[in-house]
Symmetry: C2
Subunit: 421 residues, 2 copies
């Protein structure tokens, strides 16, 4: 908008400041903000008295002239000819304007108001960029976008963490990931992905768990572990580049100043990770998985993303490939976000595709191959070697935007205690 232009602007009233014969209305528009400067005598008496009536969060329509201003904070102001109250507002139960945020539980209770705050909007404009950048990158790499079922019949990955659904009187579950289905699609399409909601009925009340989260689920035929690491690294860097291009102002609002693409990634063997942890005082034996404290200690050691490219087979899900020479090792790869806001971004790796080995592996882990039905059957029909990963959208957001809690990356977060609004 140039100066001296006629404009019509819609927005919520943030503040009205009066100084004698002049009033300043700060409007929060959908995209940013505008200042409306009303001068008594230069506007109609009706307009001047309307200004007296305006309250915070009133939704108004302003017609006027946009002019440059060296005094106005925004460098511009609107001199109104007409202001119309489209929808008045009651006083809001939480402060939407102050620098001091309401307590998190209060913000959540009034989330439908909390999301009007510029900081929250900045987070979700960036999330929109992230989702799009991920798809753009994967499509560019020849991946076909598919939609896998959310309601599934069998609790293949261990029933304890699945939400049961009453499916016309039959017990079904919400999918934790599209793991089994995306594998099935690899034999047809070669390279597939989906970005979709996933569900985990875990009673973890931590800063990094959501019961409902979005996952970038990727699976590809004929890939090596190095391919999978490179692909994920380039995916994350592409996302960072797009955010820098499209969300400069949002990053400013959030005070994120040091986001930039990483110059590379590290590969830290499971044994090396153990060493780091022991050096930091953890008592951890070969064969154990990393808990929340271990993870936090590990990521704080790094300032760029890193991969742990293998795990003890005994603590690794059945669908991962076990090393052909060393059966203690499974080809699971975790990608870790670095630094104080670092978390595990993704889990993935190479999958077992030989039916006999898969059956043996299931039995080893105490699972009954018979119960896997179609999933086990499909490997009998010329199944290509493949691998993939599932990357958490909110996890990635937490690290990139330095969010105190992962819940801030979900518009309406779901935790064991919260299912409303």
């Amino acid at each position: 908008m140039g100066a001296g232009t006629k404009v019509t602007v819609y927005g919520h009233v943030e503040t009205v400041r009066r100084k004698g014969r002049i009033a300043f209305i700060l409007l929060r528009t959908f995209d940013g903000e505008e200042q409306v400067t009303v001068k008594r005598g230069e506007v109609s008496d009706d307009l001047w008295s309307l200004v007296e009536e305006l309250g915070r969060e009133y939704f108004v329509r302003v017609e006027g002239t946009l002019v440059q201003s060296s005094i106005a904070r925004l460098g511009r102001e609107i001199m109104p000819e007409r202001i119309e109250v489209i929808a008045p507002s009651k006083p809001t139960p939480i402060d939407l304007y102050g620098k001091v945020e309401a307590e998190w539980p209060t913000r959540l209770r009034y989330r439908y108001l909390d999301i009007r705050r510029p900081k929250v909007k900045a987070i979700f404009r960036i999330r929109s960029t992230l989702m799009n950048a991920a798809r753009e990158f994967l499509r560019g790499e020849g991946f076909v976008e598919l939609s896998f079922p959310i309601i599934i019949a069998t609790a293949t990955e261990g029933g304890a963490e699945l939400f049961p659904v009453d499916y016309f009187g039959r017990k079904a579950f919400l999918a934790q990931s599209s793991q089994l289905y995306k594998q099935s699609a690899v034999a047809a399409f070669g390279r597939v992905f989906s970005i979709a909601p996933s569900f985990r009925a875990e009673k973890s009340r931590t800063r990094k768990h959501l019961t409902e989260f979005w996952q970038i689920d990727v699976e590809a035929a004929l890939v090596s572990k190095r391919d999978l690491m490179d692909l994920q690294f380039r995916l994350v860097n592409h996302i960072v580049e797009r955010i820098l291009e499209e969300n400069e102002r949002d990053l400013e609002i959030l005070g994120v100043k040091d986001l930039e693409p990483w110059d590379g990634y590290d590969v830290v063997s499971y044994d090396e990770a153990l060493e780091i942890l022991r050096r930091k005082g953890f008592e951890i034996e070969w064969g154990e998985d990393f808990g929340a404290d271990e993870e936090r200690a590990l990521v704080s050691e790094f300032d760029r993303p890193f991969f742990i490219p293998e795990f003890p087979a005994a603590i690794t899900a059945f669908y991962y490939m076990v090393d052909r020479r060393d059966p203690r090792i499974a080809h699971r790869i975790d990608m870790m976000g670095p630094g104080p806001y670092g978390v595990e971004w993704s889990s993935g790796g190479l999958r077992e595709y030989e039916p006999a080995r898969l059956r043996a592996r299931m039995r080893e882990l105490g699972l009954n191959p018979e119960s896997f039905g179609w999933y086990l059957d499909m490997f009998e029909y010329g199944f290509p070697p493949h691998g993939g990963f599932g990357m958490g959208v909110e996890r990635l957001m937490q690290t990139l935007l330095r969010l105190e809690r992962i819940h801030e990356a979900a518009l309406y977060p779901r935790t064991p205690d919260i299912v409303e609004p």
Copy 2:
């Protein structure tokens, strides 16, 4: 790939035809197909005897030279130097190669094999384009992509068609649409969308119902009914254009020859729709909604998309705006896909945003405003006028690709009877 080039190709064996000292292997690759021509004497004895062992759906790696051929159906063939069986196959329980498809229930039972068929892959490569084109268009129109919750606490839209979820011992539901949540986001972002799974526990065993489907959910502040119709029309035409650009070969495989952008849309008032139906012999009174038969009769009358831009208020959900002058009418807009494969593509319209009117409307429809909690509360805080729509991805696919049943547009469809695989 040029002729005379060294190539490495992976694929599934579709057929092996032997004619004396020559064998033709037709490979189905992830992207298309290749012919491998093996000449006894020109290849090693080992390679020739390997060909004898190859069976259908064997997954193989072929190294060789690609040459032009005027005889080969594909116009090219690969002269192999090396063939490696990566994964053998048992005989498949359904025919993946014949022109005659297996019966639909059988195809569904073996869906993990059925999706390897070129026709099925063509459908989902087009779906991938559709999803991307929809987002591209909406982002271009200034919409922010958001993710709304799937697990919701209250059965606001009428509990009968919701799937119950056991949420840590508390009863919750799967969202039918993001209706209430996308409305909440409009006050913050102005223009929002999501493409996400939705769930309807409807025991409809028809050719146009899925219990799990994907929906393009769009909501915008400050729109007119004409804006909403234009937006949807341009959205669909953009999708069609992208499919024509990116999926020429897939449309050929599916035999879809007449897909093209429409030159415009029609607007058919509810009263005009009644007239058309009565002319066709339906006994339908003012105030009734259209059933499956009426819908089919209506869409077959049109050869381009059309909108029904208002409905009797009594059969319209509470969140639609009722006309300020004629309270019998609500500003619900249905978008209908035309022709023999036509179905209702979307429902949408203008929403009620004045809290007092919304409360009165709820009571009129026999609903208790108290039970709406935060949803009703949010309208008290300067809520902008707004409207939107929810467009069914599979519905759109059904019409555009002339699919006999909507289930073919879902990789693993969910119906009242089917929840596996």
